[in-house]
């Protein structure tokens, strides 16, 4: 696969076309029909949740949120490939992957409502919290890979960054160190064409992003990020060689951010309607659904039913998050150190004294 899709040739791994027809049998992944249907359902769940979060935000029930809309196949394929003991080191636009790792939607809601508790991912194993400073998470993944190799574990670490993130020094340091140290690490770049308003052409003069792997002595491949099968296959093979040969891999997943950068962004400022429309037929869910329907694995009716079922489930978790207990003062202080420094304790006690005073003051 890596020979055939040498990034220097600018070829892109694609398995199905926009009509969901297989155009590349050789690289069709080894997935059962049930697995494929499950993949679609998971992506549909993530999309339904994503769209609902945007509308919760508009209702003022949640703060700033970065939509995943249009990029669901990447997170879906990551999630389907990672085992419990594999590590995920995320950015912040991979909902499907967090959910597959065992994070709950309620936790994501809590996070975007403004509770650190939402970063806990209580029942998810081996997942880092989301990382807001762009690209800073990538070297963490290289460190995790060192541990996996050091302790001869049969696992992989996968980390995610956006196209904008490839401009940061951290991206280059991570790839370089990974190339020198070697280890089971897979870097996935979600190339959704924009970093906020800035197009990828302003980020790099390289002919693609995958090509950057070559200079660092690691493997790289450019993949159609809106093609679930291609993404699944690429991640799956990458994990295999990352583990077997301790060979880091850079995957460029070409996609399009159909939504705004975040709920506070207005894309009409920097991109055209025509451009947005040109990506409609490449939509990852649409393409996978066409495959499923033509193979009689799924129907529109089922989709309708699923969506209404998902909406109820999503709303249930959202309301649970809305009814989360108030944020206690202790939580501001207690997680910073193993033992709270005396000085911090004094600050907290003084503040509590003030709060008592305030109660009286407000009454009078």
């Amino acid at each position: 696969m890596f020979e055939k899709y040498n990034p220097l040739d600018n070829n892109m791994l694609q398995v199905i076309d926009n009509d969901g027809k297989i155009i590349n049998k050789e690289f069709f992944p080894n997935l059962s029909d049930d697995q494929i249907v499950k993949a679609y359902r998971d992506m549909l769940f993530a999309r339904t949740a994503d769209l609902m979060i945007v509308s919760y935000q508009r209702q003022g029930r949640i703060f700033t949120y970065p939509p995943n809309y249009g990029q669901e196949a990447i997170a879906g394929a990551i999630g389907a490939n990672l085992k419990d003991d594999d590590w995920l080191v995320p950015a912040f636009r991979e909902m499907g992957a967090y959910l597959a790792k065992g994070a709950t939607l309620k936790e994501l809601f809590l996070y975007f409502m403004g509770y650190e508790d939402g970063s806990l991912f209580k029942n998810a194993k081996n997942i880092f919290p989301m990382s807001v400073p762009i690209a800073s998470q990538l070297t963490h993944a290289v460190g995790v890979a060192y541990e996996l190799k050091y302790n001869k574990k049969d696992n992989v670490v996968l980390t995610v960054v956006g196209d904008g993130g490839t401009s940061e020094g951290d991206f280059h340091e991570a790839l370089n160190i990974a190339g020198v140290w070697k280890g089971p690490v897979v870097f996935v770049v979600q190339n959704n064409q924009y970093g906020i308003s800035t197009p990828v052409s302003v980020q790099t003069a390289s002919k693609n992003i995958a090509v950057k792997s070559i200079a660092y002595g690691i493997k790289g491949i450019k993949v159609d990020g809106n093609d679930y099968f291609a993404m699944y296959k690429a991640i799956n093979e990458s994990i295999t060689i990352a583990k077997k040969e301790n060979m880091p891999v850079l995957i460029e997943a070409l996609t399009y951010r159909k939504g705004a950068h975040t709920t506070s962004d207005d894309p009409t400022k920097y991109r055209t309607k025509e451009e947005e429309e040109s990506w409609e037929e490449k939509d990852p869910l649409l393409r996978l659904k066409k495959y499923l329907i033509s193979n009689k694995l799924f129907t529109e009716k089922e989709e309708e039913k699923l969506i209404s079922q998902y909406k109820k489930e999503i709303d249930r978790q959202f309301i649970e998050a809305e009814n989360y207990p108030k944020y206690p003062l202790d939580d501001v202080f207690k997680y910073l150190y193993e033992d709270m420094p005396a000085d911090l304790l004094i600050q907290k006690n003084n503040h509590e004294k003030f709060l008592k005073w305030k109660e009286n003051f407000v009454k009078n």
């Binding site: 403004g114 401009s167 020094g169 962004d265």
Partner: protein, 325 residues
């Protein structure tokens, strides 16, 4: 005169300096086409072209390092760090080069750079979008650090910053970016860096603040007035070089000083003001200098931020305690 917010005022200052000095170059993440995520650079690319106002790759250290190169070569870059919480990759260039080049080259080379960054809490933001890290910059020899609290000051200080031959960290209090509207002259004017301003005269206690805290202090002053306490309010405006004289003069008069900052208290600007009061007005002091600050903790996410944010009540509480000491 024209009614302006801080956003408009900084934009106006940039517009004026782009217009009168072709060495001024404005760049950073999303500042060109979009005009910045807070719209501070709106329309400037349209007016001055992509060679002078442009989007950079997403690389803060690269933005800062290229600014050092441009500045040494004779340009006057005004760069934006999209949020102060994302300026840390640029620290290497700020600390290792921008602040040291003049000294290193014994004055042969200068770095007339303005580093703009929105900072501060109270806007219900995600992690890293709420911190107030001015003390870190104040601690670096060779930097000037400016924080305006009004549209008028924002404009005048920005023009002074661009005209300064030293690197200026220009921190914009985003909580009041659009909250304060004020008549501001459309002409070119500048406000000297390094000069604090006495906003209200008073006799019982001096309160020093800057940025978004000014408004909070003014709310507390209404409570103080009701309690019969007369407050002298100083807007510091420049963190460094710090205006010792104005602080000392006021503290000598009132005998008491409180500094209100939204950053953690330890090693903060408030600590510095307290020490200046000790050094310059020790025999006049009738109460220990007081710091009203954020906790020495991470700023909580929105649901916990009310615990952290400094309320007018808290400021009044400390004013009263200091006066009754």
């Amino acid at each position: 005169m024209k009614v302006m917010t801080i956003v408009n005022a900084v934009n106006d200052a940039l517009d004026i300096k782009l217009g009168d000095d072709r060495n001024v170059i404005v760049y950073g993440e999303d500042v060109g086409v979009e005009g910045g995520v807070f719209r501070v650079t709106e329309n400037l690319q349209k007016k001055y072209g992509v060679e002078r106002v442009f989007d950079s790759p997403l690389a803060e250290d690269g933005i800062m390092g290229t600014a050092v190169g441009m500045a040494v070569a004779g340009l006057r870059p005004v760069v934006e760090m999209q949020f102060s919480g994302f300026a840390y990759p640029a620290f290497n260039q700020i600390i290792s080069h921008a602040s040291r080049m003049r000294n290193r080259s014994r004055g042969k080379y200068t770095t007339p750079i303005v580093v703009r960054m929105p900072y501060g809490g109270g806007i219900n933001a995600l992690e890293h979008h709420s911190e107030s890290m001015e003390a870190i910059y104040g601690h670096i020899p060779g930097l000037k650090v400016v924080i305006p609290s009004t549209p008028h000051d924002a404009k005048g200080l920005m023009i002074a910053a661009i005209e300064s031959n030293d690197t200026v960290i220009f921190m914009e209090p985003k909580r009041i970016y659009r909250a304060i509207k004020q008549e501001v002259s459309e002409d070119k004017f500048s406000i000297p860096i390094g000069k604090a301003k006495v906003l209200s005269k008073g006799s019982d206690v001096t309160v020093v603040a800057y940025g978004a805290m000014i408004r909070e202090v003014q709310k507390a002053m209404i409570m103080a007035k009701n309690a019969g306490i007369s407050v002298e309010l100083i807007d510091l405006r420049t963190i460094y070089p710090i205006d010792r004289e104005t602080i000392a003069e006021s503290v000598k008069k009132t005998g008491r000083v409180i500094t209100v900052v939204e950053s953690p208290g330890s090693f903060s600007v408030a600590s510095e003001i307290s020490q200046i009061a000790n050094e310059e007005a020790f025999v006049y002091l009738e109460a220990p200098p007081k710091r009203v600050t954020g906790f020495d903790t991470i700023v909580p996410l929105p649901k916990g931020e009310h615990h952290y944010i400094i309320s007018p009540e808290k400021i009044f509480y400390e004013i009263e305690r200091t006066v009754k000491f």
